[in-house]
């Protein structure tokens, strides 16, 4: 795909199927094909946006990369090490370098712990600091994310949504990771607060040379923050390209429809654009369509789309598409 020197994370044909058990004997009767063969690289220092609608497998992809789920198949290389084959203890060591920021700042912070305990926990769990040093590090981290260090003794409920997300960011930064998976970090926040958190993430990236996998369904925000963008649908990456290539010249019919469905906060521009309105709903990942996953809603689907699964191929430099009908 590209030279390996600047690749921080390489995902190869990753699959995550969740088994479904039924009946008295709890026999496996099927599987949710949440992630079904995705491959991509994340380069050092960049932000890769991973977008798609609910249930497309974008969050599962993120969690599987961190080995929060054991993948069904595939390989995940971080700095050249295959995470899938690592033992528990080895993986724990790796996690110091890869952290996660979660969507819901209300659910992802323990309500019975103070901010100091939440942000300091990774430090004591991984034995990188003790006692007074933890306190100093916590105060410094709070300052970095724009919170008053004197709030360290407070509990999460005393903070607003945006401030809680800052606490989550401080916790993710505690171990000085090189890679952070941001799983819908702003979708639970109000519009005026979203910009604050996104600006913070961008500043931290420059300051600490962080690499982000930014998972979101908000295509406008992903365009703003990402260098490259991957579009997922029903467990499969449909298109991956540099941000401007993807937004200005989307090649996959799904990307085209998705982009045209995003409302633009400008009534004049909104009236003058072409819209593709997809019919129907996303099929169930228990029983995904044969061939191309998107063919049941695709406005240009052909016979071949039902017969074989389109290869994820590079049609232009750095522009990958999984579609039979794109030349």
């Amino acid at each position: 795909m590209s030279d390996n020197s600047d690749v921080l994370l390489k995902v190869v044909d990753l699959k995550m199927h969740f088994p479904i058990y039924r009946g008295v004997f709890q026999r496996q009767v099927g599987a949710v094909h949440a992630v079904d063969g995705v491959s991509f690289d994340v380069k050092r220092g960049e932000t890769l946006g991973l977008v798609g609608e609910s249930g497309c497998g974008k969050s599962t992809t993120g969690r599987t990369i961190l080995q929060l789920y054991k993948p069904t198949a595939g390989e995940i290389f971080f700095e050249g090490t295959n995470l899938v084959t690592l033992k528990r203890e080895e993986m724990r060591w790796m996690r110091r370098q890869m952290q996660m920021i979660f969507q819901d700042p209300y659910a992802s912070l323990n309500p019975r712990m103070t901010v100091a305990e939440i942000v300091g926990e990774p430090l004591s769990v991984h034995n990188v600091a003790m006692g007074k040093e933890i306190q100093e590090r916590v105060a410094h981290l709070l300052e970095i994310v724009g919170l008053n260090p004197s709030f360290a003794g407070r509990y999460p409920h005393e903070f607003s949504g945006g401030q809680r997300q800052r606490i989550g960011v401080a916790r993710a930064l505690a171990l000085q990771p090189s890679f952070i998976i941001c799983d819908e970090p702003i979708s639970a926040l109000d519009v005026s607060i979203q910009a604050q958190v996104v600006n913070l993430l961008e500043e931290l990236q420059e300051q600490f040379n962080l690499t982000y996998l930014f998972i979101a369904h908000d295509l406008s925000m992903v365009r703003h923050i990402s260098k490259r963008v991957a579009v997922m649908y029903l467990g499969v990456i449909m298109e991956l390209a540099n941000r401007d290539d993807l937004y200005l010249e989307p090649l996959h019919p799904y990307t085209q429809a998705l982009l045209s469905a995003v409302p633009i906060p400008d009534p004049v521009a909104d009236q003058n654009r072409k819209r593709v309105i997809l019919e129907g709903d996303v099929p169930s990942p228990v029983n995904p369509p044969s061939g191309c996953r998107f063919r049941t809603r695709c406005p240009i689907a052909d016979k071949i789309c039902a017969e074989s699964r389109p290869e994820f191929r590079e049609v232009k430099a750095g522009h990958f598409v999984a579609c039979h009908l794109v030349s």
């Binding site: 910009a195 925000m221 937004y247 633009i264 400008d266 521009a269 909104d270």
Partner: protein, 329 residues
């Protein structure tokens, strides 16, 4: 003004909480013209939903209390109307759809049964007439095999289809006003596009007036003709949709539009961000509610709360500063 379908004046709603009285709506006045689509935008807690729930008499009391105001619908005040009479208006002449279609549908009744109910109660149809009409309504909102699907339960429908059912139910008695409270917020963008498309089509076919409450300025731009922007329980700007986006005049509206990245990419660099938090109002504010976050704040803003005042024919703003010239109004 006789051409107003709904005329709300000086509405104030408060909630009693353990921490004190929250002043959720603080003197809101607006009119709705026949057949128009009015967008109401604002962030969580700005009072946009509470305003509409108050108008429909859907605020639980206690803890809620409508402290002042009137809401004239065809000359009759909805706020003082007897409960029984209000119930006849609600559902028949003014219908409402909500954000989460799963919690607004009864999970143990079939879709058909839930669609027939308002038809039998409000219009007095027989069971069979209601059944036929229910099938008609379902196909009108774009659900295939409508007749068979009447026997399904809500969990057998997807999120987008449930919202279609809610729309069918709301429109079943041909209301003059449809109030939609964030109806597409829980949906994916491609499904949101379907629903907005459906609402536009039905609006043209049926000609009802719509009040569309949302936090998404993009949705408002694509759907509304006129827009109210709310902050801290006040309307702080009101304008036609084109004027609002071309010429936003309240610092909050300017900040809100500026803080949005755009999918068509007309913005670069850092996002404009409004510092600080939206207020929780334990007292009715005597100063401008946006003053603590405002870049243009001056002494007067802390002393007097500006009223909504016209700056052109159909554009009203509640701000002491004229942002363009930097002078006071």
């Amino acid at each position: 003004m006789p051409d107003l379908l709904l005329d709300v004046k000086g509405l104030e709603t408060q909630f009693k909480t353990p921490d004190g009285i929250v002043h959720a709506v603080n003197g809101v006045s607006f009119g709705l013209k026949e057949g128009e689509t009015l967008g109401v935008v604002g962030e969580s807690g700005c009072g946009k939903s509470v305003t509409m729930l108050s108008v429909l008499g859907l605020i639980a009391s206690p803890p809620g209390k409508i402290a002042a105001g009137e809401a004239l619908f065809f000359g009759q005040d909805l706020l003082t109307m007897p409960a029984e009479k209000l119930r006849q208006v609600r559902g028949a002449q003014i219908a409402m759809i909500f954000q989460d279609p799963m919690t607004s549908l009864n999970p143990v009744l079939t879709i058909g049964r839930q669609l027939e109910e308002p038809l039998m109660i409000h219009i007095g149809m027989t069971k069979n007439q209601a059944r036929d009409r229910a099938a008609e309504l379902l196909s009108m909102v774009g659900i295939p095999n409508a007749k068979d699907r009447l026997n399904d339960y809500p969990h057998q429908y997807s999120g987008g289809m449930r919202q279609r059912v809610m729309i069918a139910m709301a429109l079943s008695c041909s209301p003059q006003v449809l109030i939609a409270d964030e109806p597409t917020t829980a949906l994916d963008v491609t499904i949101q596009a379907q629903i907005m498309d459906l609402v536009k089509r039905l609006r043209n076919e049926l000609g009802m007036a719509i009040i569309w409450i949302t936090h998404d300025l993009g949705v408002v731009a694509g759907l509304a003709q006129r827009v109210l922007v709310m902050y801290g329980g006040f309307i702080i700007e009101e304008a036609s949709v084109n004027d609002l986006f071309a010429n936003p005049s309240h610092p909050y509206t300017i900040g809100l539009i500026g803080s949005l990245p755009r999918v068509d990419g007309k913005q670069q660099g850092r996002l404009y961000s409004i510092e600080g938090q939206p207020p929780v109002l334990y007292q009715k504010p005597q100063s401008c509610p946006f003053a603590p976050r405002c870049k243009w704040v001056m002494e007067r803003c802390w002393k007097e709360n500006p009223a909504l005042a016209p700056i052109s024919d159909e554009h009203r703003v509640a701000c002491w500063v004229d942002i363009k010239t930097g002078r006071t109004r």
